[in-house]
Subunit: 708 residues, 2 copies
């Protein structure tokens, strides 16, 4: 039985009024309870046992669903916590226009035919939101199949999924940008024994959007995980705040985001654009913010089951137990691929396990208890108890096959462990017989079929928990660095751009933009090292390709030839380009070459890209993205997680390079990106990482207009 | 009802005697039919309706299972097609020793306690195989839970899975190196409605091994796919032949191979070793040979369902139909990620579909038929018929959600399409109600839950079929190139190694190993280009790191300094090294630098590695492996599939590089690797790909001893 509605004051926030309303009005209620409309919504609210005040609204009826019917919202005794609107689209703005201010706290607009249909619908949607705002009413939808809080029996929805009673609420919440797919997830979950307590079909999100619902649900004590079906993230800031709060609470956001293949379709014009397709950025945000991405709907349910039925893990060391070698190897493969370790047995534990098991058991991790154990639930459970009790392990995974006759005994043991351990464990149970399968669906611990699938789910739980701790530890790691006075200079020309970089503490080679050969030769002689010459022009992006760069110049005649050469090449290939002179740079003996880039994403704002440098970068991949700004600790994590990390450590007898200096530079670039809204893109490529510090050998800004 | 055993001559091959025996003797048969032993095997053979002659053998019994019992094999009227041995391990060699030659065609040894247990067991296994060979008997096992041919009711097994009757045979076969996991797969398959017709638990594979069974099963007309659970591939040659035959027949080998994480554990000493861990090699072989690798047990069943219930596809263009937008996007994401295209609707087809569907349907690919279509099975089916009938599409994927009431009508329509189309199609059906789910399990077309999962399975079918065609087209593309007389020179010193490379047509920079400065200066002046100096020593692997390489020398004094310098560096860092002089090389202006390597795998023999060159290669990944030898067409495919391909095409305005020349070089290296068994490893790194041809700028052989 659902609990009674919670009592809350009239001034309760709108989302509290949505999920815990004391009163609901259904505008468009009718006695047709089989069609997707107000009649069906009213019936579902009644069927699921809503205990507050319920008001059908329909000018053509006296009574609906056994209740007195009101001709309009105004005649319903207010204030109304939740008004459900299921009348034709054209009538909706008028409903808001007619209501007194303060009469309705939140409106759930189920009608479709708005912006999702055509231009006219979009205009109607604008009209509706303006009318609602004028009355201080927040909106869910339009084009929503409804919402549900099964804990309180509040089901204002016409999704066919709710055309039943007896649904047991659970600790998982779902917010879906697709009504149909959201409903499909709920239905799949119910068949799989995974219980959702809250559901929102967010529709067109004309007002309240994904993150608003998610933030509210996250704060509910009963909610252990918020799942989302996302087609697009609309408000980057809100998403970041939502995800940060989730990580702080240790509750996961599990998202199924579609549209990955469209990244390919939006192959961008500039090369940095090609790195940063929209799904790529979303994935980078998920990585940075510890949002758990599901591969598909079934994977989402696997994760929901894991987070609902396990406590958080304290580390990533996994114990694996099997009665068949192959299953253990599969689990280990998947666990290691997912970022967990499967460390060997400590000596004392090995001895204890050997005492418990037959002589031909494999006393190791994975522990092969041998086929005979399959018929001894107590023995398997005792082995798992022993491994979970050891500090060497943070979690356990038990693989069993079939066990048709002795399943119940094992299940009892496992339920006992679940009640007594504070470590997560999961069970892979391949092909249980039908009765056992039904019981396992509802077990107080997570059960899957395939061992690899089980390991993937458990591994992601442990990795999520570890990242929550790491994010908490890095809290406050985003203090802006001190910058020089040039940090605010306009990005006007190559020389000014160089001064801006220097002001942010980004080291450049000694250089001067020279007007003539004499000035260049003077610079060269002053440095006493070989120099490179590059045409200085804000209009030429890729100088090397057009022959406007000459390197390794170490004498006067060579310099004179090169000076003329780069200018000639520039004029030949880009006759319209503004030419400021020739940039003469001291040549730095490169250590490791990396790329540091900035790209401004329309949703998430400035992102920093980091990866291998040189011309191969875009094609070789391995570029990581992180939202700006971030501090040195985060930069270190980015570097440590990249394929470049081993190279910094002194590769093949080379010198150890300055990873800390690189982290410092990455963080400084991120702060520049965050502060300078006029940077659309920036390419520092290559940046040479040296034994001490690092030097940006080339840079290319793409400025953008910013409203003052 | 299983069919009657096929009649075949006494001289039938052993595997025919295994799967279609006219007579079976069970040595160790008893009346204990509940314990895993001969009694259970006899019962299962009887229960599953074996129609041939069945002989229990047990010296202590007169009758077993209602049949006359024989005291030993010799007293059974021969020849016996199949002898099942389920007596203690120690007794097994004696069973072979006692039997007359020709009396038994094949023996299935179920007993464990051989090589899998300990050294003593291994000795016993050697004794057994020697005794069996002496009598001309082939062996399945030992340590096998048995085999099955459900088509003929032949089930000599004691796997608990077969403790039932009424199993319907199907077109999928399974060979498993793990009895327990193999059984688990069968059980999972049965619950999922996927029917296996043949099963082999190959046990220790002391004689007949994975590929022997697979090859035989592949040739059975009824078998559409051979699934395998593999812990290790034992015979590389046999595996290659097996896979080639499968591709030629267009039947997939679907493998679940465990042990991927052990690649990490076997981190090799030499850097090339690190590239080529054993699982990496296995994966390369699967890629090269078009073997389909399953991610886990459930994935294996997904693939088995797909291949059993669809005809081969003629291309990779997929039509996607939905009644909910989100599902379509998920399917498209997965299809494109898997290598299929989802091309737009041809104009005529678009018009026809628009005529069939409501105005607010999305007439595109994916086709969104809108929620209303969910209640019109005929309409959805007609849209799919229209798309499948169009030449623009090679296959179709229909996504449906729920459809609890109108499911049967849609299923009838789909069955009708399956019976009439020659193109593959698959259905994603999320959360069908229980009755529908039971019907869908057994539908004549493949049905899955999640849309992405469905797309992944269908995509792999289409990619497999396309690769079968590509492999057939490349047939014969492995003619050895003409080689020079030096091709057989011993790999004795740097100079000889260079001559061997040259003899195989691998271009090297102009170079000479010089004994003194004068000879080096003479070489430099003769070439008229800058040169590089490198110490010439068979004992020094990484010359750059120890300062034994100097580049860019273009004058006499510089050459003299460098000559002394590299020798001094070599003597300082490797005082024991044999020094042959100093290698003077003309410097090639590098185009694109790639790596070409050779590594000899203990199972699969010589492999060629190909990827980005320079010092970053091992860390940046992107190295492809292919078994040697291969022809130019295969090399072109390798190049086209690599991340280097766009660079060869003229990247960022650079020149178009000689991809054909690179393919030629790759093929030549592969032939050298295949012919020269004395090459353990070879590193050509970097190889400069130029506008015409390519040049190996550095090479490092690791020779090995070869028995004459």
């Amino acid at each position: 039985m659902p609990a009674m509605s919670t009592i809350h004051p009239t001034t309760a926030p709108p989302l509290e009024c949505l999920f815990e309303p004391r009163s609901i009005a259904v505008v468009g209620a009718s006695d047709n309870t089989e069609r997707m409309g107000g009649g069906m919504v009213l019936r579902f609210i009644q069927d699921h046992g809503f205990s507050g005040a319920l008001y059908p609204v329909n000018p053509k009826r006296q009574r609906v669903g056994g209740l007195e019917c009101h001709p309009n919202l105004e005649s319903v005794p207010g204030p109304i916590d939740l008004a459900v609107l299921a009348v034709p689209a054209a009538a909706i703005p008028g409903v808001f226009a007619a209501m007194p201010e303060g009469h309705v706290r939140i409106a759930q607009v189920m009608t479709s035919g708005f912006a999702e249909l055509d231009e006219e619908g979009a205009d109607l949607e604008h009209e509706m939101i303006a009318a609602a705002r004028a009355k201080g009413v927040r909106i869910v939808g339009p084009n929503s199949v409804g919402t549900a809080n099964l804990w309180s029996g509040v089901v204002p929805s016409f999704s066919q999924f709710f055309d039943r009673t007896g649904l047991t609420p659970g600790e998982v919440a779902l917010v879906s940008q697709s009504g149909a797919f959201g409903t499909a997830i709920l239905a799949g979950a119910e068949q799989a024994g995974i219980r959702f307590g809250h559901f929102v079909s967010s529709g067109n999100e004309t007002d309240l959007e994904f993150c608003d619902f998610g933030r509210h649900l996250l704060e509910q004590e009963r909610v252990k995980a918020v799942c989302g079906y996302i087609e697009s993230v609309k408000k980057g800031d809100a998403f970041v705040a939502f995800a940060r709060r989730a990580a702080a609470l240790g509750k996961p956001i599990i998202v199924l985001k579609v549209g990955a293949s469209q990244a390919g379709a939006t192959a961008a014009r500039s090369h940095t654009g090609a790195l940063v397709g929209s799904d790529t950025v979303a994935q980078a945000m998920f990585d940075a913010l510890n949002v758990v991405r599901a591969a598909d709907g079934e994977d989402l349910l696997d994760l929901a089951r894991m987070f609902a039925r396990t406590p958080p893990g304290r580390g990533r060391n996994l114990a694996v137990l099997t009665h068949s070698g192959g299953a253990g190897v599969m689990a280990v493969d998947a666990a290691e691929a997912g970022g967990c370790a499967v460390p060997p047995l400590p000596e004392g534990l090995a001895g204890r396990l050997a005492d418990m098991l037959p002589a031909f058991a494999t006393i190791a991790n994975p522990l092969d208890m041998t086929g005979g154990a399959a018929f001894q639930g107590k023995l398997m459970a005792d082995c798992m108890r022993a491994m979970l009790a050891d500090d060497a392990y943070d979690a356990a995974l038990l693989c069993v096959n079939l066990i048709w006759r002795d399943g119940p005994a094992l299940m009892n043991e496992l339920a006992d462990i679940a009640a007594s351990t504070d470590k997560p464990f999961a069970v892979s149970w391949v092909a249980p017989e039908a009765d056992a399968a039904r019981l396992l669906r509802d077990a107080p611990y997570p059960v899957y079929g395939d061992p690899a699938r089980t390991a993937r789910a458990l591994t992601r739980r442990l990795v999520f928990d570890a990242r929550c701790r790491a994010l908490a530890a890095a809290e406050g790691d985003d203090d802006a660095p001190e910058v020089g006075p040039d940090a605010s200079l306009a990005l006007d020309g190559v020389a000014a751009q160089g001064r801006v970089l220097a002001a942010f503490g980004i080291r450049l080679p000694g250089e001067r933009v020279c007007a003539d050969v004499a000035e260049a030769e003077d610079f060269r002689l002053g440095k006493g090292v070989p120099v490179a010459l590059k045409v200085a022009s804000p209009d030429i992006a890729h100088r090397t390709e057009i022959g406007a760069v000459v390197t390794g110049i170490d004498d006067g005649p060579g310099l004179a030839r090169a000076f003329d050469g780069v200018l000639a090449a520039a004029r030949r290939h880009a006759p319209e380009a503004r030419i400021e002179g020739v940039l003469v740079q001291e040549m730095v003996t490169p250590g490791l070459e990396v790329l540091i880039g900035v790209k401004r994403d329309p949703v998430f704002g400035p992102m920093v890209a980091f990866g291998p440098g040189g011309t191969l970068v875009e094609l070789m991949g391995g570029v990581a993205l992180h939202p700006a700004p971030f501090g040195v600790a985060t930069a270190r994590r980015l570097i440590a997680g990249s394929r470049l990390a081993p190279l910094l450590d002194g590769y093949r007898g080379g010198a150890r390079l300055d990873a800390d200096g690189l982290a410092e530079t990455l963080s400084r670039v991120s702060h520049m990106a965050a502060r300078r809204a006029d940077i659309a893109e920036l390419d520092l490529n290559p940046v040479a990482v040296l034994e001490t510090g690092c030097v940006a050998l080339d840079y290319k800004f793409t400025p953008r207009q910013v409203a003052p």
